[in-house]
């Protein structure tokens, strides 16, 4: 079971809300799909500028592996207040710990309505249809 303290998108982003802020990352499944289980196959991650306002579902960055490029989408709208700049040069962090140290951005939430998001159980159901 994936962490139950957060919400998910079927495009494999997670969001963990605490107070007015939220941290956003991607799931272990996303990392595995991109890198085939090999951290060296991740090549690039592009994160937004601090201060950028993200609309609902907006693409805030890109992550790229040897095989493919994927958009990074925000589960909820808000203003980017911090980015995990360590990721851009150390993509292996994503393979090691996508749930905590591998966070991507922190936003100040413009909307806390999680009703359109998936909980961990619902996210895992979407994964079952992949395999």
């Amino acid at each position: 079971m994936r962490p139950t303290d957060r919400h998910y998108l079927s495009s494999h982003e997670w969001i963990k809300i605490s107070g007015d802020n939220a941290v956003i990352g991607i799931t272990d499944f996303a990392v595995e799909e991109l890198s085939s289980g090999n951290e060296g196959d991740l090549v690039y991650c592009d994160l937004p500028e601090v201060g950028r306002n993200l609309e609902e579902s907006e693409t805030f960055g890109e992550i790229e592996s040897v095989k493919a490029v994927s958009d990074l989408n925000t589960p909820l709208p808000g203003e980017v207040v911090e980015i995990n700049s360590a990721i851009e040069d150390h993509l292996e962090i994503l393979s090691d710990d996508p749930w905590d140290r591998g966070w991507l951005i922190k936003i100040r939430l413009a909307d806390k309505d999680t009703s359109k998001l998936l909980d961990a159980a619902a996210y895992e159901e979407t994964l079952a249809s992949h395999s």
């Binding site: 085939s36 289980g37 090999n38 060296g40 196959d41 790229e64 040897v66 095989k67 490029v69």
Partner: protein, 365 residues
């Protein structure tokens, strides 16, 4: 989706399986980059059962093939292999293929995604030629062992022929892992020394396992289609659907070595169109390296300042060159080694430096 006789072996090895040309194939077993390095440094085993194979026989076999192929088939010595294309009247290819010239048979190896189209095209052009086409893809299979250790490993498993004496782009028949009459060619799509083997479907698993076991001590691994694409691009070999397709002809792709305009070959489909292109080419295929982290991908546009000048045909992370590489079609006046241009990656620019093909040569390092 079709499956090769080794399908379940790949699944059991934990391969990531994808659809490719109508087949369910392994794209990688672990890391694509590690697999590419394995082939350059040691050797790797490939399931190529998806490749289309067609045997052509009959009294008019050579004349028939010379009427539809770009290369001069009748002039290939028996036991030799040549690269050729089959083109439409407009000179653009339907496919590129290898031609194995036997004593009384010519054996064709075509791309998986084009096999049906090639067969249909060939059948429609038999006319009054006395030829028989035998589609073997689903009865026989094909694997490859590629890399510096390939000769040593396969040689030890092969009796009744000396693979060390089998020249590049030559083939023979020998006993491999106890299977008699296995077609063995010194060919490949990696730029390494290596072999391709053809045998009955029922023998696939045994031969695959025997070769993997024989090479495991030396670090031989199974290699997926992802690394195969990286290796062929490093070696400057074209891939149908990228460097050549219905809109990219073999003259501009610099495949002149596979085109014969010799009078004795007679007329062939696409000849006049390709003579016209040769007299006045519009663009050229060239390689490039890029210093940035981002990977060139098919369809990215190439710019000179604000002017769009071309498009990426293929791209990859090159573990051999330690940088990202690609191929692109560019106007003739720009397609020069060392020229610096820019690639647009989803709205961002990354510099590219043109590099003549190939990026990697085993014999010319």
């Amino acid at each position: 989706m079709k499956q090769t006789p080794l399908h379940d072996v790949h699944v059991a090895l934990g391969a990531k399986m994808v659809e490719f040309g109508g087949w369910h194939m392994p794209v990688s077993y672990a890391s694509i980059l590690a697999e590419a390095r394995c082939v350059r440094e040691r050797a790797g085993l490939f399931d190529l059962g998806h490749m289309g194979r067609i045997s052509v026989t009959g009294a008019d076999c050579l004349a028939y093939l010379d009427s539809i192929c770009t290369n001069y088939i009748a002039r290939i010595p028996s036991g030799s292999i040549r690269y050729t294309l089959i083109c439409k009247e407009d000179g653009n290819p339907i496919d590129d293929l290898l031609v194995y010239r036997g004593d009384d048979e010519v054996y064709l190896v075509v791309n998986a995604s084009n096999t049906a189209a090639v067969l249909e095209w060939m059948q429609a052009r038999t006319g009054s030629f006395a030829v028989t086409l035998d589609h073997r893809t689903e009865r026989e299979t094909m694997i490859a062992l590629q890399g510096p250790l390939a000769l040593e490993i396969l040689g030890a498993m092969t009796t009744d022929c000396d693979l060390a004496k089998l020249g590049y782009y030559k083939f023979t028949f020998g006993t491999v892992c106890g299977r008699e009459n296995t077609r063995i060619s010194r060919t490949g799509y990696t730029g390494e020394n290596g072999f391709e083997l053809y045998f009955e479907n029922a023998e696939a698993t045994d031969i695959w396992q025997a070769l993997l076991e024989a090479g495991s001590g030396a670090g031989v691994q199974p290699i997926g289609l992802g690394a195969r694409d990286t290796l062929r691009l490093e070696a400057g070999m074209p891939l149908f659907g990228h460097e050549i397709d219905a809109e990219h002809n073999p003259v501009e792709a610099d495949l002149g070595f596979a085109l014969s305009f010799a009078e004795e070959k007679g007329d062939w489909v696409g000849k006049q169109a390709l003579l016209d292109v040769r007299a006045k080419p519009q663009r050229a295929l060239i390689g490039f390296t890029t210093a940035g982290k981002r990977v060139p991908r098919q369809g990215y546009k190439i710019f000179q300042g604000e002017r769009e000048v071309g498009e990426v045909a293929s791209g990859a992370v090159s573990p051999t060159l330690h940088q990202n590489i690609g191929t692109a079609y560019l106007p003739l006046d720009l397609a020069n080694e060392g020229n610096k241009l820019e690639m647009d990656i989803r709205g961002k620019r990354q510099g590219v430096t043109l590099h003549s093909l190939p990026f990697y040569s085993r014999t010319r390092k």
